[in-house]
């Protein structure tokens, strides 16, 4: 497969490439991790995960690269440079769904395996896309985080973004679907903070007043979860009301420290970089084929099952609590 793809590149290069391919067994597999921009904590952490995967696989060289600002043009330049370098695989977190497609198509024509991760590329521009998680997994995780702290059951309320936020509405819907699995947990209401710090704060305060015996506030939005934690601290209800949901470690470190939030979740960039590298390796070495329904192993993260759009979800959102917050708060 590799050989035929390489031949595609041009007859003039064929002889050289054939010898190159024969030597491939000893040469390391070169996987380029292309990120939205260099210098972003989230992606630096992903690169760390990629190095971990490379060390585990042994015969892999990771090239961590990206533009200096988050533009599609910058990424296209980087991708063209990688094509010229004849890397074996490109794993990209795209700044634009469509703009990268022509460059990535060219890469695939030259026999380079292409996957997207985190932020996807249109299907024709990649072989598979790795989502950090999926809506059902997120919906389940946010209620699980609240329920885990309430073994006896209890009342929880949801603080969402706006009434029309698509992501939040889907996650809350998925949460309600699995609510039956958590015995004794009652969702008493959903309020909307419009992703404004002051309105979210007021709504959280209102929830604590309306339901004096409230046990947890679930906020699947980064502005809301921070504001709710602040409201709980100011109301003197730390320990009574647990704030949980989706947030970033850097933003939530204060709330974990004060005890207003026991735990929260978001994707783990290290795992994401690790999985992307594993998947790219599988495709580059022809050990796996990216087609709907395929199950591709990704080391310690299990297997990725591709849907009809050749997309897959990596895992449950990663849980952050006082045991690991210090490690991650400097990362993203």
């Amino acid at each position: 497969m590799k050989l035929t793809r390489r031949l595609f590149g041009g007859a003039a290069m064929a002889a050289a490439l054939m010898t190159g391919s024969v030597a491939q067994a000893q040469d390391p597999v070169r996987i380029a991790l292309v990120v939205k921009a260099l210098g972003i904590g989230f992606f630096e952490a992903a690169a760390k995960g990629a190095e971990e995967a490379a060390a585990e696989l042994g015969n892999v060289e990771v090239i961590y690269t990206g533009p200096t600002d988050t533009t599609a043009e910058g990424q296209i330049e980087v991708i063209n440079a990688l094509i010229a370098q004849q890397v074996d695989a490109i794993a990209v977190s795209a700044n634009d769904t469509d703009a990268l497609v022509p460059a990535l198509k060219k890469a695939m024509q030259r026999g380079i395996s292409v996957i997207s991760w985190d932020s996807g590329v249109a299907p024709e521009g990649r072989q598979l896309h790795l989502n950090p998680s999926s809506n059902p997994l997120i919906g389940n995780m946010i209620i699980k985080l609240a329920a885990d702290e309430l073994p006896e059951g209890g009342k929880v309320a949801v603080l969402s973004a706006t009434t029309t936020s698509t992501n939040q509405n889907i996650w809350i819907e998925e949460m309600n679907k699995v609510l039956g699995n958590y015995e004794g947990i009652e969702v008493v209401g959903t309020v909307y903070g419009d992703d404004l710090a002051d309105k979210s704060y007021r709504e959280a305060t209102g929830l604590m007043q309306t339901y004096p015996d409230l046990d947890a506030i679930i906020a699947p939005t980064s502005v809301g979860i921070v504001a709710a934690a602040r409201a709980v601290e100011d109301a003197g209800k730390v320990g009574e009301v647990n704030v949980t949901g989706l947030g970033l470690p850097s933003e939530m470190a204060g709330a974990i420290e004060s005890g207003a939030s026991k735990s929260f979740a978001i994707w783990n960039p290290i795992d994401l970089g690790y999985s992307a590298t594993m998947l790219a390796y599988q495709l580059a070495t022809d050990a796996a084929e990216a087609e709907p329904g395929a199950e591709i192993p990704m080391g310690r993260m299990g297997t990725l099952t591709l849907d009809e759009n050749t997309e897959g979800a990596m895992a449950d959102p990663f849980v952050y609590d006082e045991s690991n917050i210090d490690e991650f708060k400097g990362i993203f």
Binding site: T163, T190, V191, Y192, L196, A197, D198, K199, Y201, R202, E203, T205, G206, L207, Q209, T210, V226, A227, R230, D234, S250, E251, A253, G254, A255, E257, K329
Partner: protein
């Protein structure tokens, strides 16, 4: 004067009625503790509305207050994150100064270039927000990066009320004094009421408007620090759209958009009215889908009541003038 008094009395009555209505559904709302909390929550709105009142009195409008607040807040937060040792007093002074400078930019453009204030402040609003993005790179300043003194100051209790509430009370008291007892305070009314007459009495319209914007900016800057410290987070979009609430508080309070009419007491009541509505809606179990509609209706009802009061006065003048012209032609 009796007309103005009755307008404030009407609004005061509306607030009491509102409180009674809320108490019938959620009695805990009118507990003294909670009312103090609501007042504290309303203080930033009140302080900004006081500044906005002065600007509106001079026939201008300041749409950049929320952006000014956000930029000052971000600067304070970044300073605190970088140098946690800087005392809160210095940060407060910096906030007021920075806010005043941004207000002066508005004021100078309105004064020296005679650009309509709505255009000037619409522009500076976007510019200030843009600057936040430039200095912060879009990143947040988070609770754990701020010092305890920085976030603790607005919520420190003095005589049972948090400092944030005291700032609201002090600002209101100072503004009442300034408006009623200083030449500048009277000049705001003169400039808004009749700019031509003001010029003949030796008041510079542009200079008065400049000071109005400076005052509004300084108060917005003060709120910038208080806001960021209260919510313990600073990012580009804080207080997004808040300028409209500020203008609404003034309008509900009976400050005429045409300038020159309205009282500080009206603004205070207007801000309290909005603050009570905003704090009550989450606890009285009304669908979030209705909340915005209810807030909007409250504004329109209040303004209608105000304008009905004002209209009676205008009609009489017109009728007299009409009779006179009719008499002259006949």
């Amino acid at each position: 004067m009796s007309l103005l008094k009755s307008r404030e009395a009407l609004l005061g009555g509306a607030i009491l009625l509102l409180l009674a209505l809320i108490a019938s559904r959620f009695p805990g709302f009118v507990a003294p503790d909670n009312l103090a909390r609501v007042f504290t929550d309303t203080s930033p709105l009140l302080i900004l509305a006081l500044g906005q009142t002065v600007v509106i009195l001079t026939r201008c409008i300041d749409l950049s207050v929320a952006a000014n607040l956000a930029l000052t807040g971000m600067v304070c937060a970044m300073l605190n994150a970088a140098l946690p040792g800087v005392p809160v007093v210095v940060i407060l002074l910096l906030a007021v100064t920075l806010g005043a400078v941004m207000g002066m930019v508005n004021g100078l453009l309105v004064w020296k270039l005679s650009i309509p204030s709505i255009v000037v402040t619409l522009g500076t609003m976007t510019i200030y927000r843009g600057i936040i993005f430039l200095i912060s790179d879009g990143a947040w300043v988070n609770a754990h990066e701020m010092s305890a003194a920085f976030t603790g100051f607005p919520r420190a209790q003095i005589a049972g009320l948090p400092v944030l509430a005291w700032f609201g009370i002090l600002a209101a008291a100072a503004m009442v004094l300034m408006i009623n007892r200083t030449p500048l305070g009277r000049a705001f009314y003169a400039v808004g009421g009749n700019p031509h007459a003001a010029v003949y009495t030796g008041i510079s319209v542009g200079r008065t408007q400049f000071w109005a914007f400076t005052l509004s900016g300084a108060l917005a800057g003060l709120c910038g620090y208080l806001w960021v410290a209260r919510y313990a987070v600073a990012y580009v979009d804080i207080a997004g759209g808040f300028e409209l609430e500020v203008v609404a508080a003034c309008v509900i309070g009976g400050i005429s958009i045409a300038g020159g009419a309205g009282t500080i007491l009206g603004t205070i009541l207007g801000a309290l009215f909005l603050g009570i509505v905003k704090n009550a809606l989450p606890v009285i179990d009304i669908s979030p889908f209705w909340q915005m509609a209810i807030s909007g209706t409250a504004i329109i009802v209040a303004v209608t009541l105000n304008s009905r009061n004002a209209r009676a006065k205008g009609r009489i003048i017109l009728r007299k003038a009409q009779e006179q012209t009719e008499g002259a032609t006949a």
